[in-house]
């Protein structure tokens, strides 16, 4: 029997260890699936949620061991070059696990309020989390695609979990149809890239382009890049691939929306910049090779503007937040557009931005979830009138979220904007920063409107403003609110982690 394990280790001493957190999450997903299948009693459902949190905690602990030195030589390739374990992966694993835990906390008691009678939500969120971890860890287009699909399919299902609601079903179907189209784009892009270069690994693509004079030399590769860009632009909701976002975010159960807007967006951005920076970007002689910076800049302008202006006329808070999520993808894309010239500063800005936005998302959607009920509840901005006096805690959290989204110091939202816009100025695309600043000026209006409604207006009649009684939800909102302010005030450590994660990508080899 000892021989068996020595043989197992033959492939690569480190390959198994490198995917340990992901494997734990997937194992948890399979286990909870079985439990969900065999437990009929609906009162035991939150038990599955607790098991899921436990699994995620173990994965986080293993990830922590790896982060603090349990992994030598970060950035080396494992699993025959299709995966890696660098600080970026480890940092994102923390983010994904954190997001999943927060989403589960929000869902624990609200899930039955929404009439969702299935324990399968928890395995689904674990599968999606594992998929994200796989996607971010992968350095091969095919592996990335697998991760993306493992992430997406549970999301399609989760969006439609409120089966009694038309909007939820509509949300699921729309997301599925358009998601399939986008996956088609992506896969086609991968195929064309393979056709042009003969490889699917990102480092292989980089080597090929360096040896063969860049994108310009090969229309097939150009088309491949365009398709891959479009596929990811869909996932992170860049205009004009954003149109599903408001419909899907609004229809999905709020804890799923929070999870999508926080984790899925972060996963999409990180994978996109890994593909672009590792595969389609060469240090030293970039300008003649790469055109994606300008493309992203255009998409960023479109996305910010459409997102903000549409949010302006939206009266439903959840839908307004969905549009705001589109706008924030645009701000983050500003950093990505700056990446070819500003290097680690641009990509670091994106990373810090999406992490900060993930925190803020959980605050804002957490508060929305607290007041979302099967019948009634609060949905329009007017419904929030006077909330500052009837529910001071949630109103305060919402205020913090609105300030963070509007980019007012000392919240994390201000720093995020600061970094991406600064990267744009550094990259000599000041006009993009100017558009970004003007756009955030516009956005102040609709964020402030919620705050004004909560504190400065009184409800028309004695409206029902009772939140769902749930200490887990309360805890999730508290944690994310504290982090939103805390990271804004003391950003040194998070910034150090971000810096550590992205700087190796720009080391000349």
């Amino acid at each position: 029997m000892p021989g068996m394990f020595s043989e197992l280790a033959k492939l690569d001493n480190w390959s198994q260890w490198s995917i340990a957190p992901m494997a734990i999450v997937f194992a948890g997903a399979v286990a909870t699936t079985l439990i969900a299948g065999f437990v009929k009693d609906s009162t035991r459902r939150s038990f599955i949620g607790q098991i899921s949190i436990f699994c995620l905690a173990i994965a986080a602990a293993v990830n922590y061991v790896q982060w603090t030195g349990g992994w030598q030589d970060p950035g080396r390739l494992v699993w025959a070059g299709s995966m890696t374990l660098d600080y970026l992966t480890m940092l994102m694993n923390f983010v994904f696990i954190g997001c999943a835990i927060l989403a589960i906390l929000i869902s624990l008691n609200t899930i039955s309020e929404l009439g969702i009678e299935y324990g399968e939500f928890y395995p689904l969120i674990l599968f999606a989390t594992g998929g994200m971890m796989c996607m971010v860890q992968a350095t091969d287009l095919l592996m990335i695609f697998i991760g993306l699909e493992v992430m997406s399919i549970p999301l399609y299902i989760m969006c439609g979990m409120r089966r009694s609601q038309d909007r939820s079903a509509e949300s699921s179907l729309k997301y599925f149809i358009l998601g399939a189209l986008a996956a088609g784009f992506l896969l086609y892009g991968v195929a064309l890239t393979y056709g042009a270069t003969g490889v699917t690994s990102l480092h292989g693509i980089q080597r090929w382009t360096m040896e063969n004079g860049g994108l310009a030399a090969n229309p097939l590769l150009t088309a491949g890049l365009a398709l891959i860009l479009a596929g990811f632009a869909f996932k992170i909701a860049l205009a004009p691939f954003h149109m599903w976002t408001p419909d899907v975010y609004e229809g999905a159960p709020t804890f799923v929306t929070a999870f999508m807007s926080a984790a899925v967006k972060a996963a999409g951005f990180v994978t996109l910049f890994r593909i672009l920076v590792t595969g389609f970007f060469q240090n030293g002689y970039t300008a003649s090779l790469v055109g994606w910076g300008e493309i992203i800049a255009i998409l960023a302008v479109l996305t910010m503007t459409i997102g903000n202006f549409s949010a302006l006329v939206t009266k439903n808070v959840k839908r307004m937040l969905a549009w705001s999520s589109v706008a924030h993808a645009g701000y983050a894309a500003v950093g990505l557009a700056a990446a070819p010239a500003a290097g680690a500063d641009g990509v670091g800005g994106v990373l810090f931005y999406v992490i900060g936005y993930a925190l803020t998302s959980f605050v804002s959607f957490g508060v929305v979830a607290a007041f979302e009920k099967q019948n009634g509840g609060l949905s329009q901005v007017e419904d929030y009138r006077g909330l500052g006096y009837s529910q001071p805690f949630y109103a305060f959290a919402m205020t913090v979220a609105m300030f963070a989204l509007a980019g007012i110091p000392p919240t994390v939202g201000f720093l995020g904007k600061w970094y991406v816009f600064k990267a744009a100025v550094e990259a000599n695309i000041t006009w993009l920063a100017v558009i970004g600043v003007l756009n955030s000026l516009v956005s102040v209006y609709y964020y402030l409107r919620v705050v004004v409604a909560m504190y400065l207006e009184s409800p028309e009649e004695q409206a029902e403003q009772e939140p769902i009684k749930s200490s887990a939800l309360w805890l999730a909102v508290l944690i994310s609110t504290v982090l939103t302010i805390g990271v804004g005030l003391f950003p040194k450590k998070p910034l150090g982690a971000v810096e550590k994660s992205v700087s190796p990508m720009f080391v000349k080899k």
Partner: protein, 677 residues
């Protein structure tokens, strides 16, 4: 805790007392806003009684007194060091964030300029807190009021003590927030709530300018820390000629920020509306401290402004235009607080003239004297309003002199100060501004002379409308109805005592900056004290010689004629008839001025027009600057319509979405191919 003064080398001393100055008001706000309400609830449940109201103002005033005490100790310590070494206290609290070459720390800087600002803020702030005890005594949300007021002082101190532009911006935004909360303090009244919103949004427009200016300065100098900026600006390696437009653009952008906060053309529209807030708030925020933040910022950045004559010309020019424009608008206001509001806008214009022509210390001098006399005027007006049971219309006042003697005399002294009658404080500072405008050779020719005459005219108007307000309020026959007249009373001791102190300061404050022409050449205390702060730019600035006494005679003559005119028109029957006759003859001009030149209406109108497709297009292509300024009121409207346009795309039809995606993909591929091939 030990307070240690430690020499860091050069002229810098580390002094860990500094952080206490802003900390006390923050603690006060926290206790009043969080702790007392919480305890109140607990005592209500267990003891069935409320906490005494006195706790609130004891906390707030105590916090202010402690903060003022710390500021005074720091000032005395600073004065103990030889001024010739230009000593500066610094305190590095923690590193806030770092990005690339930019390091931003939460660190304070206490030099001679900061000392002056801190003393004004904490001392006048403390007095106004005391005054508020009486003024707000009948208010329900007593603790909310003091929480906001303390919070404001905290942010204002961060603004003046911050050692870098980003930290200053935190204070800058914070005072905007506090101002917004206090203007809309009585938010049940929707007009007052929307006045708060207007102030906030107009300020945000200015903030965009501040941010852009800050980014550009960073690109130019690679740092945003004041002392590092000063070093870079002084270094021989930096020549403004290498960046012909960028430096001026950055400074003008920053000035847009200053114009928003300090209510200059074209962003002044929020300040008159801000009078919706409680009167002590108007005195503290909208007269003595926050609105002067723009002047402070330019004085703080004197070493870069001195490098760009163009930017300085813009500052001084806008200041002069505002001074005159706002003064004329004060003519026919009937609301006593509105008169003071326009007068504040106008006086701020004078301060910008001073810093615009490079006479930095004079700007700070006028800032200080203005803080004294305008706080006194506002609090006097508050006392009148309090005594008249919330009547603000001067047409219903008159003859109050005998009812409220202390209020009358303090108001009268402060009016003499603002009108520029020697030896009251306003005379010295305003006269010095006009003198410097005439003799200064630092801005583009011949702007200085034009600005001088504009300022002189504004001074005439100031004397006229201020005395008009005195005559209408306190002299003549009472025009109040019977019921009100019976109840008119002098205000409580806490209010009149503060008035007396401020009137004393308004009278004597000018002796801190005596002009050179006075026989015997007494020392100019303030100029000497501020010398180290402005030393770097002083070398490159030019001021010609002129006979200062002559200027003093001219400005006194102008002030006196303004007063006599006001007396003629508002106290003598002949003059009143004449005024009535002119009003008939020049009805259109009268209506124009009374309606504040229809600027608010113009802003609305200009926006509605731009909604038309062509205008929107032109707006985008033409000039973002114009929009930032013209679109103040209607920005919301325009963006709203754009939002509707985008919403039309959001049909909810999946096939449409898919078509959108495919079209997007096609464009994307085409652009990429064009770039690559």
């Amino acid at each position: 805790m030990q307070f240690t003064l430690q020499h860091l080398g050069g002229n810098e001393y580390s002094f860990n007392l500094l952080y206490l100055i802003p900390l006390f008001p923050l603690l006060g706000a926290a206790i009043n806003g969080l702790l007392w309400p919480l305890l109140n609830r607990i005592t209500l449940v267990f003891a069935e009684r409320k906490l005494p109201r006195g706790l609130v103002h004891v906390t707030a005033v105590g916090a202010m007194a402690a903060s003022a005490g710390a500021a005074i100790i720091a000032f005395l310590k600073l004065r103990g060091l030889p001024l010739s070494d230009s000593p500066v206290f610094v305190f590095h609290w923690w590193d806030w964030f770092q990005a690339g070459g930019l390091k931003v720390a939460v660190a304070f800087r206490y030099d001679q300029l900061t000392a002056v600002m801190c003393l004004i803020i904490t001392c006048i702030g403390a007095m106004i807190h005391v005054y508020s005890i009486g003024y707000m005594s009948e208010e329900e949300s007593y603790n909310r009021y003091f929480t906001y007021l303390n919070l404001f002082v905290f942010f204002m101190l961060i603004l003046v003590m911050g050692d870098s532009l980003p930290l200053m911006f935190v204070g800058w935004e914070g005072v905007g927030l506090a101002s917004y909360l206090l203007i809309g303090f009585w938010f049940e009244d929707s007009e007052k709530a929307s006045a708060g919103k207007k102030a906030f949004i107009v300020n945000r427009v200015g903030d965009a300018g501040y941010l852009l200016g800050m980014f550009m300065l960073f690109v130019l100098f690679g740092t945003l820390n004041f002392s590092e900026l000063a070093d870079k600006a002084a270094a021989s390696g930096f020549s403004p000629a290498d960046h012909p437009w960028m430096l001026s653009a950055a400074l003008i952008c920053l000035f847009i920020g200053a114009a928003g906060k300090s209510a200059q053309i074209p962003l002044y529209v929020w300040l008159p509306d801000a009078m919706a807030g409680p009167t002590p708030v108007s005195a503290l925020i909208h007269a003595a401290t926050m609105v002067t933040a723009g002047v402070y910022m330019i004085a703080r950045l004197n070493f870069v402004y001195a490098l760009s004559p163009a930017a300085m010309t813009v500052v001084a020019g806008v200041g002069a235009a505002t001074a005159l424009f706002a003064a004329t608008m004060g003519f026919y206001q009937n609301d006593i607080k509105k008169v003071l509001a326009y007068s504040t806008v106008s006086q701020l214009g004078f301060m910008f003239i001073a810093v615009g022509v490079g006479a930095w210390w004079v700007g700070i001098f006028h800032l200080m004297t203005h803080a004294f006399f305008k706080a006194c005027l506002f609090l006097g007006a508050g006392s009148v309003i309090h005594g008249m049971h919330h009547e603000q219309d001067m047409r219903k006042m008159g003859g109050l002199k005998s009812y409220m003697p202390i209020t009358y005399w303090t108001y009268f002294l402060a009016t003499l100060a603002i009108a520029g009658i020697p030896p009251f404080s306003g005379f010295f500072s305003k006269d010095e501004i006009l003198y410097k405008a005439w003799t200064g050779g630092n801005i583009l020719n011949p702007a200085g002379k034009v600005i001088f005459f504009t300022g002189l005219l504004a001074a005439l108007c100031t004397a006229f409308y201020m005395f008009r307000s005195v005559f209408m309020t306190f002299h003549g026959e009472s025009r109040a109805d019977e019921h009100t007249r019976e109840q008119i009373h002098e205000s409580p001791r806490t209010m009149t005592a503060v008035l007396a102190i401020l009137a004393f300061l308004a009278t004597s404050g000018g002796f801190l900056g005596l002009p050179h022409w006075i026989p015997g050449h007494p020392a100019n205390v303030l100029e000497h004290w501020l010398e180290p702060v402005f030393a770097q730019s002083a070398g490159s600035l030019v001021f010609h010689e002129a006979n200062g006494f002559l200027f003093a005679v001219i400005s006194v003559a102008v002030a006196l004629s303004g007063i006599l005119l006001a007396r003629y028109f508002y106290l003598t029957p002949a003059g009143q008839q004449k005024a009535e006759a002119w009003r008939q003859d020049f009805n259109s001009i009268y209506t124009l001025v009374q309606n504040k030149y229809y600027v608010d209406e113009f802003y609305d109108f200009a926006i509605v027009k731009t909604i038309h497709a062509f205008s929107v297009l032109l707006w985008r292509i033409a000039d973002a600057f114009l929009i930032d300024t013209v679109a103040v009121n209607g920005l919301a409207q325009i963006t709203y319509y754009a939002g509707y346009a985008f919403r039309a795309l959001q049909t909810g039809n999946v096939q449409r979405y898919a078509v959108g995606m495919i079209a997007g993909l096609a464009v994307l591929a085409a652009v990429l191919a064009a770039k690559g091939g």
